[in-house]
């Protein structure tokens, strides 16, 4: 037999679950998650061109990009061993396009950087919630 407090708690859990599902549905409509890999060292021109054409092609309002650069190691190895530099970019498409030059520069640096509606980080730490609940 459940107590009133338990029934109350259960209804909170159910409501929380319903809200979570609605959030996920809206998230999917708004945010495009995409991996972009470069088989070379970070190159300003190449990154800018690819990012520009990619953003112009997508209809999503927000993008969640996992950009990585594969770089061959200099040691002579049997297999073409590569190291990976990974940068996560989360932000509003419009803002990224407006500030593309600065943002590409930040992506190449790979350091954590946050602006009004864009976040760049070596870790996957930003999501739409960070920018909507400011």
């Amino acid at each position: 037999m459940e107590t009133i407090a338990e029934i109350r708690l259960r209804s909170f859990f159910i409501t929380d679950d319903i809200i979570q599902k609605e959030i996920q549905k809206l998230d999917k409509k708004l945010v495009l998650s995409q991996e972009i890999s470069f088989h070379s060292k970070p190159n300003y021109k190449e990154v800018k061109e690819l990012l520009h054409s990619f953003l112009n092609r997508t209809k999503f309002t927000w993008v969640d990009l996992d950009i990585y650069f594969l770089v061959k190691t200099e040691r002579p190895v049997l297999f073409p061993r590569r190291t990976k530099t990974e940068v996560f970019v989360f932000g509003k498409k419009k803002v990224i396009l407006e500030n593309i030059e600065e943002i590409v520069g930040r992506i190449i640096c790979g350091k954590r950087w946050i602006k009004k509606e864009v976040g760049i980080s070596p870790k996957q730490e930003f999501n739409i919630k960070n920018f909507l609940i400011l």
Binding site: E2, T3, A5, E6, R8, L9, R10, F12, F13, T15, D16, I19, Q20, E22, I23, L26, D27, K29, L30, T61, I128, K129, L132, I133
Partner: protein, 134 residues
């Protein structure tokens, strides 16, 4: 400027935060999380039975989240029991249910056997919480 869907998402995040706060509040009223230290090693049935019974009877919570530690005798006065424990087991469950099945539960604890019952769990790993039962 936020779009209609972004505003909707923002409202959902705020609603979710409020529900989560209510869950934390309600859980705080229902569940007591406590670490109980057993000073003897190896632990014995009678001692655990007495500790658990007196602890459950002294507290008015409906659910209990108990971590049982048995300390290394050399470190009786250690400041960090987690680092010096020889034995650590988790018990999560409804007070009434634990009291009704206390002998079986204590047997499991003493022998270090995990068990999932209707309204209680004994486990080596941290048990998720009241959500799994209600």
């Amino acid at each position: 400027m936020l779009t209609g869907e972004e505003m909707k998402l923002k409202k959902l995040y705020i609603k979710k935060k409020k529900i989560e706060n209510k869950i934390v509040e309600c859980e705080g009223q229902l569940v007591l999380s406590e670490t109980l230290i057993v000073w003897k090693h190896p632990i014995d049935f009678q001692e655990i039975l007495a500790i658990l019974k007196s602890f459950l009877n002294r507290n008015n919570y409906t659910w209990f989240d108990i971590t049982l530690h048995s300390l290394n005798p050399a470190n009786d006065f250690a400041f960090f029991p987690n680092r010096n424990s020889r034995f650590r087991i988790y018990l999560f469950g409804k007070k009434m249910f634990i009291l009704r099945n206390i002998e079986e539960i204590v047997q499991r604890i003493v022998h270090g056997h995990t068990i999932e019952m209707e309204e209680a769990v004994v486990s080596w790993k941290k048990i998720p919480g009241v959500e799994d039962f209600i």
